[in-house]
């Protein structure tokens, strides 16, 4: 008699992904939902008057899809084929509104770039807040021109050209230390071994763990990151490939049920 319990999944815990070389890659632990979609094609074999004699089954396929409540850095790597790099210095674009005082203003951060052209654009705002007059950076302040000293972050304007309190809009590039993932146009989504862990209960309230292993999950490069007035979630989709283990294993997934407090087996 079949002895495996019928279960209610009570909690989807984590999805852990390992590289195909077996190195832990990333873990998604704020999963909202996950679906394992299983399909196969069937062609009826028919006889006299179209009666069914049998069937020809083929093309089994498994697609795993889900949604993580947080943007997962590892999942981004899997979906883009890129790798996060911890950079001690990398440029970011910056813009800010500053106020002129005594013919000077100070940028919040040090603008970088070609010497003498570190400030990409500077506009004088008029009384209704619109950025109207564009000034050019030069070696010294003059009519229609301003100077910038990166060492002191000081912008200098022509003496008495602008009243104290005049607002300016400044665009520049600054360097920061940060982690950078580049989505290269000629690199594609990757593969990994996926392990889905969940808690389950049977009708008698016995607690089990369920582990579903996908030996070779081929991540899709189709994904959206939607930013707006609702939560940004990170959805993913992957197909199980039956070629893990270099052709020795032809399975699409393993479903393992064990007691939540199960001891080690010999």
């Amino acid at each position: 008699m079949f002895s495996v319990a019928d279960l209610m999944i009570t909690s989807l815990e984590t999805i852990s992904v390992y590289t195909m070389a077996g190195v832990p890659w990333f873990v998604m632990d704020e999963l909202q939902d996950t679906t394992i979609a299983n399909t196969q094609e069937k062609e009826d074999l028919t006889g006299k008057a179209g009666r069914k004699l049998g069937s020809l089954k083929r093309n089994k396929a498994v697609t795993i899809s889900g949604t993580n409540g947080l943007i997962s850095a590892g999942l981004l790597e899997a979906q883009t084929g890129g790798t996060f790099t911890a950079k001690t210095s990398t440029p970011v674009s910056w813009s800010e509104t500053l106020t002129i005082s005594s013919d000077e203003a100070v940028t919040s951060y040090k603008a970088v770039g070609t010497a003498g052209a570190e400030i990409e654009a500077l506009y004088i705002k008029n009384s209704d807040g619109r950025a109207t007059t564009k000034l050019e950076q030069d070696s010294t302040a003059a009519s229609g021109k301003f100077a910038y000293a990166p060492a002191t972050k000081k912008l200098t304007f022509l003496a008495d050209a602008y009243d104290d309190g005049t607002e300016i809009l400044v665009f520049y590039t600054r360097n920061i230390a940060g982690d950078v993932l580049t989505n290269e146009s000629d690199k594609y989504s990757g593969k990994g071994r996926m392990v889905i862990d969940a808690f389950a209960e049977d009708k008698c309230s016995n607690v089990f763990r369920v582990q579903i292993e996908i030996p070779k999950a081929d991540f899709s490069g189709d994904f959206d990151l939607a930013f707006g007035d609702s939560q940004t979630v990170h959805a993913f989709e992957a197909e199980s490939l039956a070629s893990a283990g270099c052709g020795k294993n032809g399975y699409l997934w393993n479903y393992t049920v064990f007691g939540a407090d199960a001891e080690d087996a010999a």
Binding site: P91, V112, G113, T114, A115, G116, A117, E136, Q137, D138, S139, T140, A147, A149, A151, T152, K154, T156, T173, N175
Partner: protein, 61 residues
Amino acid sequence: MPKVKKICKACGKEYEACHTPNPNQVFRWFDVACSRECAAEYLRRVEEARNHQAANDEIKE
């Protein structure tokens, strides 16, 4: 890359330059001037002005 019209910061002449990213933030003459010579002259002026400014700031301190 799009070409943009710029004004040479040294001689004031209009010139055309390719707008390309500069991720390594090296000094590129075509970002500021119409020729290498003009760029060298502009860079000299910038350095002179910044050194002068730095000296003034030191005196103020």
